[in-house]
Symmetry: C2
Subunit: 237 residues, 2 copies
């Protein structure tokens, strides 16, 4: 099975230039060949190529199925690392394992505030196709931790977690705090951790403080640990 | 806390050239400064620098404590990816999250059989220091899947898993199969999966077939997913 991506699927539609080039030049697909296309929102359809052109393949839908998507939502909000390649790695891995939204945070202790979301979005598309997932996460531009906590609407009935590193403040292991079958939002701080004010604000807004094991994890490792925990606890496939 | 590594800790001992350069040139530590040193086997001691020399710092043990290590053993046996940087990434992340041995496997469907373990070992030392862990995994040279299954002694009372991709053969989700408090060994196959003969041999030797969620995970993602599952289920810190 070879998966392609198109945000807009109609009975007959055109793949964009990047996907078309992939199909025609890289995969050497031709008219009449069958492919699968994901809309990034959980729907994967079987299609047939009508015209195989590098600038835009026209394809026709042949069947339909909804992908195996979890009935619950995973929202990751993470402060970007100084090293952009570590964030790119995180996006690839989080999409493979399963995530619905990735918010980029600027914390009081963040060193880096600029991050190209278009490059991260391309990495996410590639990871979605490679892992045969139907879900392409939204990757949102950088916003402050305060703005995320106070202004972003999370799905109904979400369990909210903040993973901070202050070992002298009460925290419970994420593995014990996570409940299966619930929408989940988790905040992962910058290399310098969340500030005391950010932690206090999160607690006021119903976030539970959690720890991620005995190691000091890098930001991107902590974020993937949290995404993996959510998917593990909800995996009954 | 700044952690250094020395496999041999005595009441007074010398850090090797790499660790000494790190202490003196990078961290600019001087005589009398306090450091922590891990022996890679769970012991972390507090030390004081007696002579600060780039070619070999002499240090003296000032106190002793055993690191927070799990009472159970995690053994990962994984077929290296074609792209060596993906294996290097895996070693870094697996050490951060927690692993005791990493065996490199050559499967019937493996494309790559050569892998420099000394470079991986250096990455493991760096990740151990960065994450303040007391455990440095052994990284073993490449051996065949058959040899691993039939000849390598795993710890007593181990639960054994093989994560293969044949969806039409019975498998249970790793999250449901894993029991906390038990030594664990998991086999992760190459990009072309294990062969039927390798899967059959593993089952004969008591391995349980497991799945790692609904996605098609890359080899290195699958391996980290398994290591994370083990650490999550055993985290009561």
């Amino acid at each position: 099975m070879q998966l392609f991506y198109s945000p807009d699927i109609a009975p007959m539609f055109t793949l964009d230039a990047e996907e078309s080039r992939h199909a025609v030049r890289v995969m050497r697909l031709r008219e009449g060949d069958a492919i699968h296309v994901s809309d990034g929102h959980g729907q994967i359809v079987q299609c047939r190529i009508i015209t195989a052109e590098e600038k835009g393949c026209t394809v026709e839908v042949m069947g339909e199925r909804v992908a195996d998507v979890l009935p619950v939502n995973m929202c990751l909000a993470v402060a970007p690392t100084k090293n952009p390649s570590r964030m790119e790695w995180l996006v690839e891995k989080a999409v493979e394992v399963g995530v619905n939204q990735i918010y980029l945070l600027q914390g009081d202790h963040s060193e880096r505030v600029f991050m190209k979301t278009d490059r991260l979005q391309r990495i996410a598309v590639s990871a979605m196709k490679q892992s045969l997932r139907g879900i392409l996460p939204d990757i949102l531009p950088v916003m402050s931790v305060r703005e995320f906590i106070t202004e972003v609407a999370v799905p109904d009935n979400s369990q909210l977690f903040i993973a901070h590193c202050e070992a002298d403040k009460p925290r419970i292991p994420l593995a014990m705090a996570l409940q299966p079958g619930r929408n989940t939002t988790i905040l992962i701080g910058p290399e310098g951790d969340f500030s005391e004010e950010e932690i206090a604000l999160a607690l006021q807004h119903g976030y539970q403080p959690v720890s991620l094991g005995p190691s000091r994890l890098r930001t991107e490792t902590a974020a993937l640990y949290a995404v993996t925990a959510f998917n593990l606890i909800n995996d009954r496939s």
